[in-house]
């Protein structure tokens, strides 16, 4: 049977569906410490804290846990002010629909940009402090004493004359009280839980197979779907012939899903097997001929084009360079990357004409609810999203594409849950890719061999233009493109250049861009820190001394850079055959530096050791910061050494880990992390270190070989002498 593509009308599927009884939230029982939250208003002290009679403290976490440790870190912040016993703490996710219903009492659910802690530290601590005050007030009322005469410590409330009670005993009374509007937060010097390397709260079930990810969701009567999307970006579905597959075992239906086809079957393996045999005709559209080579020419032309958005301008860079004694210029490039989360995209949806529920791993619960509502054709008040733990996010799971698809498929089976799971191949070829850019950097060196004028032209893709064009800053281009080149702030260019110009010729290839862990800090720090190394070499100066000479206005950056230099022994020779490279930046409001030690033998690179320092202001959990730094080198160096997604005939060429290789255990260098919080600010941790991974290693390779790697990945460069 031939079918034409059609746009799904919700009405076509409204056939006697019964929605009664589905208005109650139905949660997958997620074992362990991050069970679903169903709003248990009666026993909550306030929105953030539930205290049970058995002294269990449940802390509500709005942001998504995807490995970065935010669940534990945010719980530490609340627990610190709450003065509870850390050993009694468990966590739960409030649901996005409940957040909507309660006037966004938990504020943002968005989990990206290393913002989980740095954006919500104040209000979650206030939530903990308010709950503590309410517990104290309840105890004081029972004792008929003034609350000010009581104090809470470790889950116990102490009153005058040795009076003593526990949180659990007064919780019910405290829950009846009004939430105080003003509370005083602790002085950081009195913190007892914040700053301690406590264990993660979510480990046990990950070691036994009990932990349920989105891909593991299992609901009564659930069907399973496999999907194939038009391989060319922007292409559309013309037709498919389901005669061959509709009678295969378990197959229920073959459905069109916008630019894709899905097979729905009893089991996913049956759906996937049938889909592999399904003849599909695509209209590949206007991008059918797109290629990486053609795009590269457009970007290269952009390096000298007249149209550009200015991201940072001070003094007169052109004049300063022109009058300098010596000029250095170089062109760099960075390829597309795929997030390649270990858990491929998936979502489970159950749709009826007046209710739609989705179970999914998402970095943005509220965005997922909006995607669900839009796809379901229902107001968000009639939808619900149950967040599962994420098998990796890295920015990919901020998007709602896979949620939309699951809902559109479930509309064919009113009342029956359907789980959509992408294959690795779909996941690899239909990502939101780390944007493609090139950059031309030019600088002068004055008579004292200092930098005189610093000029950067970025040419290439804008994430915001691709994903949220309404957020392009009023004709001033995409501020994300200028991460690590900003004049000040969380992504400030961490050097003192009196004469600087950084601008961006926007050139958007037909590959959808996305927020890839580290975002444009990665490309831009690779460019800057490699080029600074070139300048140091051209100036005949030591790369550490040269950098520090241009960092007087960036003392935090200088401090982390000196810390890694000290630890690695920069001033003394490296072991025979080992060479060092440095990099530093400010990203996501943290100050980062790294020193890599490498050797190159017969063209083969070995990264022996990396020392990295992080000043994130306040360090909530030092051992989890170390974990993020260690992992950042794996993620960043996977991209630097191997990662690239290329386009041929309008489609991504890489489709699995053989064509998109990533770093494995044997290649991982020893990473030594220096956590050096200087206090007074809150910086991100999950992303910034990725930015220094590539330039630190590439600069060490230059020291070892004299070969300057200006385009990634490294695998295309011959390092033999």
């Amino acid at each position: 049977m031939k079918r034409r593509t059609f746009s799904l009308s919700r009405r076509q599927f409204v056939v006697g569906s019964t929605a009664a009884g589905l208005t109650l939230g139905f949660g997958v029982p997620l074992p362990g410490r991050q069970a679903h939250a169903q709003p248990a208003f009666p026993d909550e002290i306030n929105a953030w804290v539930v205290v049970r009679p058995d002294e269990q403290v449940v802390i509500r976490i709005a942001r998504s846990e995807m490995g970065q440790g935010t669940l534990t870190g945010l719980a530490q912040l609340v627990a610190e002010e709450l003065e509870c016993d850390w050993g009694n703490v468990t966590t739960e996710y409030p649901s996005p629909a409940t957040n909507l219903e309660r006037g966004r009492v938990w504020q943002s659910f968005a989990t990206g940009g290393s913002r989980g802690i740095r954006e919500s530290h104040d209000y979650v601590r206030r939530g903990g402090a308010a709950a503590r005050e309410m517990l104290i007030t309840a105890a004081a009322a029972q004792w008929q004493v003034a609350p000010a005469a009581c104090r809470a410590e470790n889950g116990v409330i102490h009153g005058p004359n040795g009076k003593r009670t526990t949180f659990g005993k007064v919780a019910a009374a405290a829950a009846q009280l009004d939430v105080p509007e003003t509370v005083t937060l602790k002085d950081p010097k009195n913190w007892k839980i914040i700053g301690k390397p406590v264990k993660r709260l979510d480990t046990d079930d990950k070691l036994t197979g009990k932990q349920m990810y989105g891909a593991d969701v299992r609901l009564p009567g659930m069907l399973n779907a496999a999907i194939k999307q038009c391989p060319v970006f922007g292409g559309t579905l013309v037709s498919f012939d389901d005669a061959k597959v509709r009678l295969l075992p378990g197959v229920k239906k073959v459905v069109a899903v916008e630019n894709a086809v899905a097979v729905v079957a009893e089991r996913w393996w049956q759906a996937k097997t049938a889909l592999d045999q399904l003849p599909i005709t695509w209209d590949e559209g206007e991008n059918a001929g797109a290629s990486s080579a053609a795009t590269a020419e457009i970007l290269t032309a952009g390096l000298d084009a007249d149209d550009a958005f200015v991201g940072n301008q001070a003094g007169d860079a052109a004049a300063a360079i022109k009058s300098a004694a010596k000029h250095v210029s170089a062109v760099y490039g960075y390829p597309h990357q795929n997030h390649a989360t270990m858990e491929p995209m998936n979502a489970t949806a159950r749709w009826t004409e007046d209710r739609c529920e989705v179970w999914c791993p998402t970095q943005n619960g509220e965005g997922a609810l909006a995607s669900t509502a839009e796809a379901a054709g229902l107001p968000p008040q009639q939808c619900e999203v149950y967040k599962t733990l994420l098998g990796g996010g890295f920015g990919r799971r901020g998007a709602g594409d896979y949620i939309r698809q699951a809902v559109l498929i479930a509309q064919h089976f009113p009342g029956t849950p359907v789980k959509l799971l992408w294959t690795r191949e779909e996941d690899m070829q239909h990502g939101f890719f780390h944007p493609l850019t090139q950059a031309k950097l030019t600088a002068g060196l004055d008579a004292k061999r200092n930098i005189a004028g610093f000029r950067v032209r970025i040419s290439g893709q804008s994430i915001l233009a691709g994903l949220m064009p309404d957020r392009l800053a009023g004709g001033n281009g995409d501020p994300v493109t200028f991460q690590c080149y900003a004049p000040s702030g969380e992504h400030a260019l961490a050097y003192d250049f009196a004469d600087v110009l950084v601008d961006h010729a926007m050139r958007n290839p037909p590959v959808r861009p996305g927020f890839w862990r580290g975002v444009n800090a990665n490309q831009n720090t690779f460019y800057t820190e490699s080029f600074i190394d070139e300048l140091a070499h051209a100036a005949g100066r030591d790369p550490l001394e040269f950098r520090l000479a241009h960092m007087s206005k960036h003392p935090n950056n200088a401090a982390v850079l000196k810390a890694v230099a000290d630890r690695v022994g920069w001033g003394s020779p490296a072991p025979a055959g080992v060479f060092r490279g440095l990099a530093q930046c400010t990203a996501f409001a943290s100050h980062i530096a790294a020193c890599a030690e490498v050797s190159v033998t017969n063209g083969a690179l070995k990264i022996h050791r990396i020392v990295a320092a992080t000043d994130c202001g306040y360090a909530v959990n030092p051992q989890q910061i170390e974990a993020q730094v260690e992992g950042s080198f794996v993620y960043g160096l996977s991209a630097a050494l191997y990662g690239e997604c290329t386009v041929k005939d309008g489609r991504i060429e890489q489709d699995n880990f053989h064509t998109y290789p990533v770093m494995r255990l044997a290649e991982m260098p020893k990473v030594e992390t220096i956590v050096m919080p200087s206090g007074g600010f809150w910086g991100g941790v999950g992303e910034p270190t990725i930015a220094v991974a590539a330039p630190a290693v590439m600069n060490a390779i230059f020291a070892a070989t004299g070969k300057r790697v200006r385009t990634l990945p490294l695998k295309h460069h011959d390092l033999t002498a």
Binding site: T203, K206, Q211, M342, G391, R424, Q623, S632, V662, A666
Partner: protein, 155 residues
């Protein structure tokens, strides 16, 4: 219908003989600890033990598994999560997102069963599972810790 020996129990499965063991475990036996990551035996998220060997179950067809083969999944590695590898992983907070870790734990347990005190070079050679969070440094430390604890426990 086919009989399998999974986690010490005989189970009967009604699945096409070409179905990979991974999907038999996940969809027929509701053992979802073994994960789908790549489908072509490159990432190791699907690692289980077959007769003590670490096997990538996503490419092993049901037809290749005999009823005499002992299949052990993460759910059957220990009764209470107290295998030395699980203990070490807990002690060192190895997992981040954790999706690859069931396979990682199974690979490490199989390595230690054959090689009780592996060197770094042994670990490099045998531990080829992919972790995108980048937990490798703690995986290595965890294997050394588990080896030391096993040795202590046996003595």
């Amino acid at each position: 219908m086919k009989t399998l020996n999974v986690n010490g129990k005989a189970v009967i499965v009604d699945a096409d003989p070409t179905t990979p063991l991974l999907w038999v475990l996940r969809e027929h036996l509701e053992l979802t600890g073994a994960k789908y990551g790549c489908g072509i035996a490159l990432c190791g998220a699907c690692t289980v033990h077959v007769n003590g060997n670490a096997i990538r179950s996503c490419v092993l067809p049901l037809s290749a598994v005999a009823d005499t083969d002992a299949v052990v999944t993460i759910e059957g590695l220990s009764n209470d999560g107290s295998h030395p590898v699980q203990n070490a992983w807990r002690e060192l907070d190895v997992p981040q997102c954790g999706y690859c870790q069931t396979g990682m734990v199974m690979a490490a347990a199989a390595l230690l069963a054959k090689n009780p005190i592996p060197s770094d070079a042994d670990i490099d050679r045998e531990m080829t599972n992919i972790c995108r969070c980048g937990t490798y440094q703690r995986v290595r430390a965890g294997i050394h810790m588990a080896a030391a604890n096993r040795k202590g426990g046996a003595a």
